[in-house]
C-alpha cells in the first residue's frame, strides 16, 4: 500500500502551528484591534482599522506614553474576525494570551462584541467596543450588573431610540409613523422597538411595521404597504448601503414623506449614493462632520489627509476609544491591566471627537449625548445636540 504522506504532514503542520508561546511586549505598549475586516461588514472593519492606525501614529509621533519612567510607543495588533462570533472570540483570546496586549479596542458589531466581551472579562483585559450599541455588551448576561472590564465609546440603543422618538413627536410633530427595518439585524430591530416605545409615549402612533432581511435589494412590496398606511414619517434605521435603494424605490412608488434615520446612516457615503433623494431627511449620529469643534475638525482633517475620505462614525468612535485609552494609560503610568481598567473607569471628562464623555460608577457605558443631523445640499448639517 503506497504510503500517503499527507496525513502525517498535516499532523506535523498542526502541531507546529499550535505550538509557540507568548510574545513578550518588551518596549512597546501593545493594543489589540479586533475588526471585521472580511465578512459581512468590511467597511466597518476598514474604518476601524484606519482610525486605529491614525490614532496610534499620532500618539507615537508625539513621543509615546510614559510608562514606568520610560516613554513607550504604541504597537497595534490587528486581528480579523470575519464578522463571525467564534472568530471574534478566538481573536480576542489570542491577543490576550499570545500577544499580551495591555488593552483591546473592538469588535464593532454586537454579534462579535458580545462573545468577545465574555473572553475579555474572563481574561481581565480592558475592552472598548467603539460602535456596539447593544446594551448587553457591557452587562453581565445573568445578573445584568455592569461588567468590570468592558467599556464602549458610543451611546446605547436605549438612549438613541429615546432621542429619535422624542425628536419625531416633538420637533417633527409627526402623529403617525411607519417603520421599515432588517428583521435579521438585532441592532436595527432593537432601535426600531425603542423608537416605537418612545414615539408612542410621546402621543404618536405607529401605523405600519414592515421588515426585510439582510441582503434584500427589493423593498417595493413593503414600501407599497407603507404607502397605503399613510404615515407622516418613516423611521428607517437601515445601514447606509440600503438607504439609497429604499428611498429611491419609495420615491418611485410615490411615497414622498420624510424619512428618519439612526446612526446606521452615518457616513458621507450615504449622501454620495442617495443624492437629491435624501435631501431634507434627519438622522441621529455620534458626531457631526460639519462641526466647528476644533478637536473634531483636527481629526477629520488628519483622517482625510491620510485616507482621502471623510471619516464615518465607526472611525470617529474608534479614534475616541484610543483617546480614552491614552488618557487612562497616562494616568495609570503602567501597563498593568487592572490599573488601566481603574484609570479608565475614573474618566470624568474626556473631550472626544464624538463629544464629551465620562464614565460613572462601575458602568462601562459613557454618559454622552447624541447629535441630530439633517441632510441638506449634499452635506450633513448639524441640527441639535441631545444630552442625556
Amino acid at each position: 500500500m503506497r504510503r500517503n504522506p499527507l496525513p502525517l504532514a498535516c499532523f506535523a503542520a498542526a502541531a507546529v502551528m499550535l505550538g509557540g508561546c507568548a510574545r513578550h511586549s518588551g518596549d512597546t505598549i501593545r493594543i489589540g484591534v479586533i475588526a471585521e475586516l472580511t465578512g459581512a461588514i468590511p467597511a466597518v472593519g476598514a474604518s476601524c482599522r484606519n482610525a486605529a492606525q491614525l490614532a496610534a501614529k499620532e500618539i507615537n509621533d508625539a513621543g509615546g506614553i510614559e510608562i514606568g519612567g520610560k516613554k513607550k510607543m504604541i504597537e497595534l495588533v490587528i486581528e480579523d474576525t470575519a464578522a463571525k462570533a467564534d472568530q471574534a472570540a478566538a481573536a480576542v483570546q489570542k491577543v490576550i494570551t499570545r500577544d499580551e496586549v495591555a488593552a483591546i479596542v473592538g469588535p464593532n458589531s454586537s454579534s462579535n462584541a458580545l462573545p468577545a466581551a465574555e473572553i475579555a472579562e474572563k481574561g481581565g483585559v480592558v475592552m472598548i467596543a467603539p460602535w456596539s450599541t447593544n446594551p448587553k455588551t457591557t452587562l453581565d448576561a445573568q445578573t445584568n450588573l455592569p461588567k468590570q472590564f468592558v467599556f464602549r465609546a458610543c451611546f446605547t440603543d436605549m438612549f438613541q431610540g429615546h432621542v429619535l422618538g422624542k425628536f419625531a413627536s416633538e420637533t417633527l410633530k409627526a402623529k403617525k409613523a411607519a417603520m421599515l427595518y432588517d428583521v435579521a439585524s438585532e441592532v436595527l430591530k432593537s432601535q426600531s422597538e425603542l423608537f416605537k416605545q418612545s414615539f408612542e409615549a410621546g402621543g404618536g402612533k405607529v401605523v405600519a411595521v414592515e421588515t426585510y432581511t439582510t441582503g434584500d435589494k427589493d423593498f417595493s412590496a413593503q414600501l407599497t404597504k407603507i404607502k397605503k398606511a399613510g404615515p407622516d414619517i418613516v423611521f428607517l434605521p437601515s445601514y447606509y448601503t440600503d438607504v439609497p435603494l429604499q428611498v429611491q424605490q419609495a420615491h418611485r412608488l410615490g411615497l414622498k414623506v420624510p424619512f428618519l434615520g439612526s446612526d446606521a446612516w452615518s457616513t458621507e457615503e450615504l449622501i454620495k449614493m442617495c443624492g437629491k433623494d435624501c435631501d431634507g431627511f434627519y438622522l441621529s449620529n455620534h458626531y457631526s462632520p460639519q462641526t466647528t469643534n476644533p478637536v473634531t475638525r483636527r481629526f477629520i482633517d488628519s483622517y482625510q489627509a491620510a485616507y482621502h475620505s471623510v471619516p464615518d462614525d465607526v472611525a470617529a468612535l474608534t479614534y475616541d476609544s484610543f483617546g480614552l485609552l491614552r488618557q487612562a494609560l497616562v494616568a495609570a503610568k503602567t501597563t498593568d491591566r487592572r490599573a488601566i481598567r481603574d484609570a479608565l473607569s475614573r474618566t470624568t471628562d474626556y473631550q472626544g471627537v464624538t463629544g464629551n464623555m465620562r464614565f460613572t460608577a462601575g458602568s462601562g457605558d459613557p454618559v454622552k449625548g447624541a447629535v441630530i443631523l439633517q441632510i441638506k445640499d449634499d452635506k450633513f448639517v448639524w441640527v441639535t445636540d441631545v444630552q442625556p
Binding site: 475586516l37 472580511t38 459581512a40 468590511p42 467597511a43 472593519g45 476598514a46 428583521v183 414592515e210 421588515t211 426585510y212 432581511t213 441582503g215 435589494k217 427589493d218 417595493s220 412590496a221 413593503q222 407599497t224 404597504k225 397605503k228 448601503t241 440600503d242 439609497p244 435603494l245 418611485r252 412608488l253 410615490g254 457615503e269 454620495k272 449614493m273
Partner: protein, 291 residues
Amino acid sequence: MTYFLQQSLNALQLGSVYALIALGYTMVYGVLTMINFAHGDFFMVGAFLCFISVARLHLPFVPTLLISMAGVALLAVGVEVAAYRPLRNAPRVSAIITALGVGIFLEHFTLALSPYPLHIPPAFANVTWSAGGLAVSSLQVVTVLLSVGLMAALQFVVARTPLGIAMRAVSWDRDTAALLGVPVDRVISATFAIGGALGGAAGMLYALSYPVIDPYMGVLVGWKAFISAVVGGIGDVRGAMLGGYILAAVEIAVAVALPSTYRDFVAFSLLIVLLIFRPYGILGRPRPQKL
C-alpha cells in the same frame, strides 16, 4: 387592482434577473452535471465591471453591457480551464467544492481591492411613467425585455444551432459524444462562456436597478439562482426561466400577504412542498433508469 399590478411588475423585474442567473447555472449543470457555486460570484464580477464601465470609464449602455458580458465570459472560461477541467474525471463533488473555493476566492479578492460598498451613479436616463397610479420605470422595462431577449436567443442556440446540438449530446453522454467527434473541451468552454455572459448581463442589470454593490452580493443571489434552476427542473433552459419568475413571485407574494418577518420561512416551506409533489422540479424529468 393597481396594487396587485404594481407588485406583479416588481415580481416581473426581479424574476427576470433571477431567471438570467438561473440560466447560467442550468447550462453548466446540464452539460457537466456540475453545480457551479461560483456562478453567483461571476454575477458579482459582472456588477463590478458595470461599475468600472459606468463610473470610471463613463461608457454608454451598450458598451457597458458588452463589457460586463464579455468580461465575465472570459473569467468563466478561465476558471473552467484552470480549476474545473483538471477535475473532469474526478468525483462530481470535488468539482463542486472547487467551485465553492473559487467563489470565496473571488469574493475576498474583490474585497481586498475594494472593501467599501460602491455606488453606481445614475448614468442612463431612467424615466418613470405613471399610468393610473402604476409606476413603471424605463429601467424595469429594459431589464425585462433584455432578459427575455437573451433567454430567447439562448433557447435558439440550444435548440437550433450545431453548438446547441453538441451541448445536448455532451450532456447526455460525454464519452460517446467524444467518440463521435464532438470537440468536448471546446463545447464545454463555450457553455461556460455563454453561462458567464448571461451571468454578467444579469449582474449589470441588477446593479443598475439596485445601484449599491459589494463583494458579497453574489452569495445569496447565487443560492437563489440555484433554487430557481432546480425548481424549474435542472438542465432545462425553459425550466430555469420559469423557476426564476416563480421564485420572485413567491418572494414578493409572501412579503405582500404576510408579515414580512415570515417571508423566508414561508417561501422556503412552499419550495419544499413543491419538491414533494414534483420531486424533479416543474419541467424536469428523471433520467430514465433501466431496471
